[in-house]
């Protein structure tokens, strides 16, 4: 694989092994406190699942990791969020942060352009213009997203012509194309059928080798299947965080147990 | 999508370019005289300008409005020469005027309408416009907008038996409506068989019928010999404190010359 010609700002990951670290994090939407005093450490090259009933703050927490909350006007944040050891709410270039921390959304949101342009959008944004470099990035990203063979003959066709599952994998490929260190996934399979979901889960396991993945999901089996660590949230509090195996076999928190076993939520 | 943006900006630029290019190609850098004002004077002015342009390298652009506007334009410097179809009012100051001809005001009705002797008198018209009193089959009348020179002259010339003029009444009767151009008056008259209107004698044609005023035919000779009383001057005005360009002066001189006055007579107006 060719070297990327753009320079990635150095977030140091190796020494600490901590990809993301928050302490005493509070997030407010106007009056509402959506995240209450959450301190969590997410390790490198793991898949961490956030579970919990709707409105518990897991998506909000996810969005603080790449500062997507900035787009919400009334959002206020206190506490510390460190990505790769850098406090991302202090004097940092948001664009560089987001290049390092990619995100995949609940509903597939391909841009209204060709498949190729969708994947090349990120690298182009960061200044890569050379056709040969772009070609190899697009190939690599689509390959990793396991859809190169499906789309290699129709790269110039509109991304809107793909099926829902393909669109979502395209969005993942698009996120991979900027070579992030961390990948945030916000219920990436909730709008998809079981087969597409399977594809994406396989993809996650594959990607874990190079990336740190944080995934928000409503699907207990999915969390159990693919994640290494699981955090359970309720009404803005993180009630339990630990190895997925432990949480699903012997949860310490009573509410967490009831949620996992399907008794409430 | 990019293509569309490109096409779009191309079209805009192209049209701008075409606009300027076509415009420029059309111009031969002629000297231009701007004339504006009365729509009654406009047809005559166009004929005079047409003749004058044949022998002189100028363009005379004539902007059609009404007398009031022509006079105001001159005062504010929007034109070089203003046209009016009435004499200046005492309130209209700072202007020099020159009379170029006289014009009658024709009283017109629908071709299918006849009244006794096809003649009306000043007091009959006065009562029609003031109180809505019908003149046989004529039940209603048409006036022009307040700034029309034709209306100004008409309101001044139509008097009742005591010598009170129409311009001194506060409001017309309910049967009077207003139209804001000679064309609208003619169209209105040609579609209604019970209405009286008035237009410039020079604009009279066979779509409508002219009535006699006090038993005198509305013709250029009768205006000239003074027997047809509904007449007013056509005047040109300029600002007192600025000099006209040589071309504009020459044009006015042409109008007042024998050749110019011949055109005036030929078009049905009353030469001097």
């Amino acid at each position: 694989m060719k070297e990327l010609s753009y320079k990635i700002e150095d977030f140091t990951f190796n020494e600490t092994k901590k990809a993301i670290n928050t302490s005493k994090l509070h997030v407010f939407y106007g009056e509402l406190e959506a995240i209450k005093d959450v301190s969590i450490t997410i390790l490198e090259n793991t898949i961490t699942a956030f579970i919990g009933p709707s409105g518990c703050g897991k998506s909000t927490l996810l969005k603080t990791f790449n500062r997507m909350n900035d787009l919400v006007e009334c959002c206020k944040i206190t506490g510390v969020v460190e990505v790769g050891g850098v406090n991302i709410y202090k004097n940092i270039d948001v664009s560089t942060l987001r290049k390092n921390v990619g995100m995949v959304f609940q509903k597939p949101n391909p841009f209204q352009m060709s498949i190729y342009d969708n994947v090349a959008y990120g690298p182009r944004t960061h200044g890569i213009k050379k056709k040969s470099v772009l070609d190899s990035i697009v190939f690599d990203a689509l390959n990793r997203a396991a859809m190169w063979n499906e789309v290699k003959d129709r790269l110039t066709k509109s991304a809107m012509s793909l099926s829902g599952g393909q669109q979502q994998r395209l969005c993942i490929a698009r996120a991979l194309a900027v070579k992030p260190k961390i990948l945030l996934m916000d219920e990436p399979t909730s709008a998809l059928d079981p087969i597409s979901t399977g594809h994406i889960e396989d993809l996650c396991k594959e990607l874990r080798k190079q990336f740190t993945i944080v995934i928000v999901t409503h699907n207990m089996q999915q969390a159990a299947r693919i994640s290494d660590k699981t955090a359970f949230f309720l009404l803005g509090d993180m009630l339990e965080y630990g190895n997925t195996k432990d949480i699903f076999s012997s949860p310490k928190n009573e509410k967490c147990e009831r949620y996992i076993t399907g008794k409430f939520g | 999508m990019k293509k569309i943006i490109r096409i779009l900006s191309f079209v805009v630029l192209l049209s701008l370019f075409v606009g300027i290019f076509v415009g420029c190609a059309n111009s031969k850098a002629k000297i231009e005289i701007k004339v504006s004002g009365s729509s009654s004077v406009t047809p005559l002015m166009q004929k005079l300008a047409q003749e004058y342009e044949k022998n002189n390298d100028v363009t005379i652009s004539i902007i059609t409005h009404d007398s009031g506007t022509g006079i105001k334009d001159t005062q504010e410097g929007l034109n070089e020469i203003g046209m009016a179809s009435r004499s200046l009012k005492s309130t209209e100051t700072g202007l020099d005027s020159v009379k170029i001809c006289d014009d009658g005001i024709a009283l017109i009705v629908n071709k299918d309408l006849s009244i006794t002797g096809d003649s009306v008198s000043g007091s009959q018209i006065y009562s029609l416009y003031k109180d809505g009193i019908a003149i046989e089959g004529i039940l209603r009348g048409i006036s022009r907008e307040a700034s029309s020179g034709t209306r100004g002259a008409f309101d001044e010339l139509i008097k009742n038996t005591e010598g009170k003029a129409l311009k001194d009444i506060t409001a017309f009767a309910a049967v009077i409506s207003e139209q804001n151009s000679t064309g609208s008056v003619k169209t209105a008259i040609s579609t209604a068989t019970d209405t009286l209107g008035y237009i410039s004698l020079g604009s009279l044609d066979n779509t409508v019928k002219a009535l006699k005023f006090e038993n005198v035919d509305a013709t250029a000779e009768n205006v000239k010999n003074g027997s047809y009383k509904l007449a007013r001057p056509f005047i040109l005005v300029k600002k007192s404190d600025t000099e006209l360009s040589t071309q504009a002066t020459a044009f006015i001189n042409f109008i007042l010359s024998e050749a110019g006055q011949a055109i005036v007579a030929q078009e049905g107006y009353i030469s001097m």
Binding site: S161 | S39, S61, S147, E178
Partner: protein
């Protein structure tokens, strides 16, 4: 760095637009203050005599606007009753009851009606409507209020139809199917379920219709009779606020001029009230329940359980009647379209000649050559100015400003108000500001600038709306890849909103092609072909006005109308083609 430059460019566009918009509002209000002061607010608004030329009257006695205010209210209300309701019913018919095969051509035909320039309606009204009305008029004259209402109804019907149609079609299909599943008839589903659901859209359509009726000038000036007297009946002479301005503004000076500007301000207050009504309506849905229409809908009994298999048609007779009413309205609007088109083509086609189209135009004889050139020059100037500034301002308002900001809300309201203000008000402003104060005189420059101001609010609003319609997920997607704001806007957001922007451009072009009132007073009315922007020039509609003005070239005027109509048809077809092409591209 690039990001900042883009932001400043958008910001300056926004500032310029805000400056222009508030400038006009402020200037007009400010200049009319002396009139209100000298004449007195009460005398001005409630005086019944308007006689500016009577020098023997005191100012407080001769500048009364009440006849004009009442006339405007009456004709607008009448047009709303006939054209507005007619439009809604036509839309109902088109959406549910029209046979599939004729639905598309019908819709196209009605859209086409909205593209006919107003001056053409004026001709039609004078020669056909007034003549027909004079037969039934007790006084024997067809001029006056009823003629105005008929013409205005024809003019607002297509607008109301197409917007109501969109509103009804936006109601989810499930509503309709749900009602049918409960045993309602097709008619009941339409009138009891779909219309109430589409109510806010329909209301907006009606209010837009009133706005257009209040602002119309050149069409009704030919049929109104135009006397400034209190309206007394359907055949009474009337003069609306807009007619009052167009009849006198060219020559008015001093207090008279200020009184005319005050007329414009009153007109603007009308539009502001209408806008407030719309926003009030949108916010307070409980208010909707009080409307007459809803109450009538309520009073229809609808008992799904009572429907007897043997007599399924007993329920919903009223709805069936309404359905036939819708059909009648649709046929009526279609007939009026056919009549007016046939009228213009019969009168005009025979007189179109190569010489009339492209011959040398001058004092020797007028042709349409200057109209082609002036129209293109005017439109290109207006678009080159208004398009980038309007789009830039809209981008700033949507993408950069905070949505809840009070100032931004005010700007949005002002833009909305200004996009509803009749062009004659812009004409008045343009004449005073560009021609007189800046000294451009009668010129294409002044005309083009005036047109640019006229279409600016429309472009801002339409662009804003299409930007707001872009899904937020696309913005998020782009930002999440580390793209900056400017990149996101140019590469992701604008391409998606292009169809909306193109529609806005085409609508503005249509408006400019048909514009006459504002141009007569800014770019002048001349026979000569302009060579540059400092010269006067007549656009199509103005040329038509000139042809008809002295009554000497009426045939040429009809021919111009026919040419104009052909242009409108071409524009309409190109909209349709462009639209379907874009749709195809998107689905590829």
């Amino acid at each position: 760095m690039r990001d900042k430059i883009a932001k400043y460019i958008f910001f300056s566009c926004a500032i310029f637009s805000i400056f222009a918009i508030f400038g006009i509002l402020f200037y007009l209000c400010n200049t009319s203050i002396p009139a209100f002061r000298e004449i007195g607010i009460f005398n001005l608004l409630f005086g019944t005599v308007w006689a500016p030329d009577k020098e023997f009257l005191a100012p407080s006695d001769k500048f009364g606007l009440l006849p004009m205010i009442l006339s405007s209210l009456c004709v607008s209300f009448g047009a709303l009753l006939v054209g507005g309701l007619g439009g809604v019913f036509t839309a109902v018919f088109l959406v549910r009851f029209a046979p599939k095969r004729i639905k598309a051509p019908l819709t196209a035909a009605i859209n086409f009606l909205s593209g006919i320039p107003s001056i053409m309606f004026g001709f039609f009204g004078m020669v056909v409507v007034v003549k027909l009305l004079s037969i039934i008029s007790p006084s024997g004259s067809g001029y006056g209020m009823l003629a105005c209402i008929i013409i205005l109804s024809m003019m607002i019907l297509p607008t109301v139809t197409s917007i109501s149609k969109n509103a009804i079609e936006a109601v989810p299909e499930e509503f309709y199917l749900g009602a049918l599943a409960l045993g309602a008839t097709k008619e009941q589903a339409m009138f009891r379920v779909e219309i109430p659901a589409a109510k806010s859209g329909i209301t907006a359509a009606l209010l837009l219709g009133i706005g257009r009726a209040v602002g119309e000038t050149m069409a009704i000036i030919m049929v109104a009779g135009n006397r400034a007297i209190m309206p007394t009946g359907l055949f009474s002479n009337i003069r609306t606020l807009t007619i009052n301005m167009v009849m006198e503004m060219a020559y008015a000076t001093d207090l008279h001029k200020q009184a005319l500007i005050a007329t414009g301000v009153v007109l603007m207050v009308f539009i502001i009230l209408l806008n407030l009504l719309v926003s009030f309506y949108r916010r307070d849905r409980s208010h909707i329940k009080k409307t007459l229409f809803k109450r009538r809908m309520r009073s229809i009994s609808f008992h799904p359980y009572d429907i007897d298999i043997d007599t399924p048609r007993r329920q919903g007779q009223l709805e069936t009647i309404l359905k036939y009413l819708a059909m009648v309205f649709c046929i009526m609007s279609l007939t009026s379209l056919v009549i007016i088109v046939v009228f213009i083509f019969i009168k005009g086609m025979g007189h179109i000649s190569l010489d009339l189209l492209f011959g040398v135009s001058g004092n020797a004889g007028m042709t349409l050559r200057p109209a082609f050139i002036s129209t293109i020059m005017l439109i290109s100037l207006a678009l080159t100015l208004a398009l980038p500034i309007g789009i830039g301002a809209a981008i700033y308002l949507v993408e950069y400003s905070k949505r809840q900001n009070k100032i931004i809300k005010l700007v949005r309201l002002a833009t909305e108000v200004l996009s509803g203000v009749p062009s004659i008000v812009f004409g008045l402003f343009g004449m005073i500001f560009f021609c007189e104060i800046l000294g451009f005189g009668y010129s294409l420059l002044a005309g083009g600038l005036t047109l640019a101001l006229t279409i600016l609010p429309t472009i801002i609003r339409a662009t804003e709306e299409s930007l707001l319609a872009v899904k937020n997920s696309l913005r998020e997607g782009s930002y999440a890849l580390g793209a900056r704001k400017a990149q996101t806007i140019f590469k992701v957001i604008i391409p998606v909103s292009i169809p909306g922007i193109i529609t806005a451009i085409i609508l503005s072009i249509g408006r400019m092609v048909g514009e006459s009132a504002a141009l007569i007073f800014t770019s002048g009315a001349v026979a000569y072909t302009p060579s540059f922007y400092d010269q006067p020039g007549s656009s199509f509609a103005v040329m038509m006005w000139m042809f008809s003005n002295e009554g000497l070239y009426i045939n040429a005027a009809y021919a111009t109308a026919a040419v104009l109509m052909i242009i409108v048809i071409v524009i309409n077809i190109s909209i349709a083609v462009l639209d379907s092409k874009l749709k195809k591209r998107r689905s590829q």
